[in-house]
Every structure is written in C-alpha cells, then in structure tokens.
Amino acid sequence: MSYSVKVLDHYENPRNVGSFGKEEEGVATGMVGAPACGDVMKLQIKVGKGGVIEDAKFKTYGCGSAIASSSLVTEWVKGKTIDQALTIKNTQIAEELALPPVKIHCSILAEDAIKAAVADYKKKHSDSVVV
C-alpha cells in the first residue's frame, strides 16, 4: 500500500492528539467504528460561545488513513460553528488526503465522527438551544 504525502504527514505528525478533561465546559465526544472492523475514532470538540468549535482533539485506533482522516478533521472543525462542521463531507477528506478507493471508508468514518460529536453536543445542550 502506498500512502500519499499528506497521509504520511498526518500519520507521522498527527495534529491535536489527546483528550479533554471529562468535566470541561462545552466538551462533546463522538466515538465511531468498532475494534472488530479495525477502526475506532474518538473525536472531541470543545464548543464555545455562539456554537463555535474552539478546540478539537482525537484518538484513533486504525490504519494510517484513519489516523490521517481524523487528524485532518480536528484541523478543519476548529473555528467552525457546529452547523458548519456538519457540512464537511467525506469526499472532501478523501480528496484532500488522496485516499485510494479501499480507504474511502476512513473518510466516511471521520465524517461520522464529526456528526457523532455534534450530536453529543446537541444532546447535552438541548435545553440551551435557542429556537
């Protein structure tokens, strides 16, 4: 398997690895995948005023493409509102990282991780959402 330069870069120097403290204000977590499938992604977002994602962290059990996909989305979601973050599509991730067809599922998983984290945030803050 040959990886693109960008995948290798994210794999060698993953951005925003780690976890937030569980009780930190505005933190939401998306955990997707399953060990038996060979990928588990945990994406955490820290949402500030106006629903803007101020920080993001990840941990991933998976192949190089899965690590790179999740590393990339931590960069992309930062500074976006949670609704803007939801517009990130797996195709954009796959294109940015030049993922081969057999690795497209990694970008899908990363998109799912964003959705899961946002859903977690919305669930936790449902009472404060202004309608």
């Binding site: 955990m31 399953a34 060979g38 945990k42 941990k59 059990y61 998976g62 192949c63 190089g64």
Partner: protein, 403 residues
C-alpha cells in the same frame, strides 16, 4: 550501520544463499542444454546436474532420489499431491481431511475438489495452533482416502504431530500428504521412519531460488497419482515440462547446505528469537500466538493489543515483517490462521509475524526491540481503546457503533 529495512520475513521467502547462486550461475551461462535432449553432450551435462540435485533433495529428508518429482514450487506440489491422489483413489472413497490453518495452496485445492464432488473436513486446531489427535481420529470415516496437514505452520511456526497422524493413516490405508514448505532446514525430516506418503517442498523458503519445488512420492508402499500437467512425459510422467536446470541445481545446493548446517543454524536462530521475545515481553498486553514449545525456532508471532495492525506495520516500516501470511496480506481480512486459534479479530489485526533466518544478526534484533518499544508506545498514545482500558473500561461491554 544497519541497512534498513531489516528483513525479518524469512517465512515469506529467503534470499538465495550466495553459495547457491554461485552453483546456479554456470547453468545460466554456459551449461544451458535442455536436460531432455538425449542426443548431445549439452543435454547430458544438464541431466547429470539435475540428478545430482535430486539426490541432495532426497538426502535432506532421507528418501530415495527416485521418490522426488520436480515441480515449479510447493503450491504446484500441493495441487499435484492432493488432486492427483484424490482423483486416483476416488474409486475407494470421496472423503478428505485437512486443517483450517493450512496454506491457501491446500485449502483452495480442497475447495476445488469439493466442487468436483469430494467431501472435505476442515479440522479445528486448539488455541495453541496444534491439531488434537482425538479430534483427528474422530473425523476419520470409512471413505476417507486422503489426509493433508502441514508440517510447520507458515504464520505461527507450530509443528503438527506428523509422526502420530502418519501412524494412524498408515494403519487405515489412507494416503497422507504433508506440506513441508516451511519445515525443510528447520526440523529434521526422516521419511524412512515417518509414515508420510506425499510431501511438498519449496526451494525459496530454504535459501534456494523461486520457481522450483518438489513432491516426494513414496515408492514403498507405492502411492499413485494422476498427473496434473501432461506433455513430454518428464519426471516419469508425474509432471511434464522442460526442467529449469539452474533452479533445480539451486534447490539441490540449498538443501545440501540445509542438511549440513541446520543443527548449528537453528541454535543460533533460537537464541535470536528468544532475545527478541525477551526484549518485547516488558511491553504491556502482548500475546504470543501459537504454542511456544512445539514450534520452529525461527518464528515469533505476536499480537500487540489496542494498536491496529496496518498502522503498526506503517510505524515499523524499518522492519520488513508480515501481518498475516504473505499471500493474503494484500487483503484487509484478519488472518484466518489466528482466527482459527480463537483470537479475537482485534488481536488478529494487530499481530506481527517475525521470522528470523540465516542472515539475521543480534544487532538487527536489538534495533527491532527498541523500535517496537517506541512505536507501540506512540500508537497506544493515539489509541482510544488503550485509553479506555487504562481508565478501567471493559471493552467487551461497550456498544460499538458498527458501520
């Protein structure tokens, strides 16, 4: 200075020993005759070399040279042995027995025979990778005509109880085939005492060239086969096709060297393997796959829990190793061999096969140990599973959002 990547994949293939290459080269240059040419000295010269090599192959396994049939490799030998015997003895019965951890060359051949109307039992192994003799006996039927088991497993290096299986088969008049591709030069093979009827060999796993192998076909008691490749009647009709002299000469020399050197070599390799195992055993949550006592000294197959296999291979790209077997590692499926041992998919995914050989050095092993310490640590820092386990979560209770 170490040359990188360090080759620790001797069960996938071995380099041709320089002494073997030296023997081969004259047969690529001036001694080019077709061994089947009976009318001139070019042919006689190469025919003599072919017969000398046949003797060397026979000697390593204590067989008669007349019992050795050249093939293009162990895959062809396995096909010839299994299809050839099944087809010849089909009148006696239609039941074959093999094991779930066999090489694809055996399993795929058995699948093909199933499509031709044979009935095949694929036996389970224990969590040590070994075939249990009671399981084996229970699988025997009155219409069983052929049993095929490997001598040494390619992924986990365990040694199956060939002598015992052979006794049982001989007692019941069942043809017994053994795939010994991973065994030559690693375990002593004495076909004068082993009750084996057919045995497959490969040159390129024992420091010989690719493209050449052999099938042992017992003469006393005589075993019959239907040929699978027909033509000029080479190899007493068992296998037609021009003999590749240089490759045959290479296999002969490789097997001669194995016979002379395997005793000392295996001790040296065992020390290196034990050093590797000792060096890795202070990493938390590592598991050896397969029995450690009934195993060739060359093999160490380890699962590193909570890191994923492909990213692990990427992290240790300075080591040329396999995850799963070489023939199937292009697919993302976890190794069927490790699954057969009852390993969970996660552990199967994160397994690495280290196979040590003639040219492995202590310095290379030490480098590998240090690299693995660093990289396993880094990948676990990245692993959400490791974090959960450290926090005391039982992963078995987690509801995964499977996709």
């Amino acid at each position: 200075m170490l040359n990188l990547p360090i080759y620790l994949d001797y069960s996938a293939t071995t380099p041709v020993d320089p002494r073997v290459a030296e023997k081969m080269i004259p047969f690529l240059v001036e001694k080019f005759g077709n061994p089947a040419s009976r009318s001139h000295s070019f042919g006689w010269e190469t025919e003599a070399a072919v017969e000398e090599a046949r003797e060397e192959v026979a000697k390593l396994v204590n067989a008669d040279p007349k019992e050795i049939v050249w093939t293009s490799g162990a895959t062809e030998s396995n096909n010839l042995a299994i299809k050839g015997a099944a087809q010849f003895y089909a009148g006696k019965g239609k039941h074959l027995i093999t094991v779930k951890t066999e090489h694809k060359a055996v399993l795929d051949t058995c699948r093909e025979l199933e499509r031709q109307g044979f009935d095949v039992s694929y036996l389970d192994v224990g969590d040590d990778g070994l075939l249990d003799l009671e399981t084996f006996k229970a699988a025997l039927r009155p219409d069983t005509i052929l049993v095929s088991t490997m001598f040494v497993n390619n992924e986990i290096g365990v040694i199956q109880p060939i002598a015992e299986i052979g006794e049982i088969c001989r007692g019941k008049g069942i043809v017994f085939h053994v795939d010994a591709a991973q065994a030559t030069g690693k375990v002593a093979i004495d076909l004068a005492t082993l009750k084996v009827d057919l045995m497959s060999f490969s040159a390129h796993k024992t420091y010989g060239p690719k493209g050449i192998g052999a099938l042992y076909v017992r003469r006393k008691p005589r075993v019959r086969l239907n040929a699978q490749m027909h033509g000029g009647g080479h190899e007493r009709g068992f296998r037609s096709g021009t003999l590749a002299t240089h490759q045959i000469v290479g296999m002969g020399e490789a097997f001669r060297l194995a016979r002379l050197e395997m005793g000392a070599e295996n001790e040296r390799i065992r020390r290196l393997r034990d050093r590797l195992l000792a060096g890795l055993s202070d990493i938390e949550q590592v598991y050896v796959n397969g029995d450690m006592t009934r195993r060739v000294p060359h093999n160490l197959n380890i699962s590193f829990a909570y890191v994923e296999g492909e990213s692990l291979l990427m992290a240790i790209k300075d080591l040329a190793v396999s995850s799963g077997s070489a023939c199937t590692s292009a697919s993302l499926e976890p190794s069927y061999v490790l699954r057969a041992l009852g390993r969970e998919d996660e552990l199967a995914h994160s397994s690495i096969r280290f196979t040590i050989g003639r040219f492995t050095t202590e310095e290379q092993i030490d480098y590998a140990i240090k690299l693995l310490h660093d990289k396993i640590g880094r990948l676990r820092e990245l692993s959400p599973l490791w974090e959960m386990v450290q926090d005391g979560v039982d992963l078995g209770t987690v509801q995964w959002a499977a996709h």
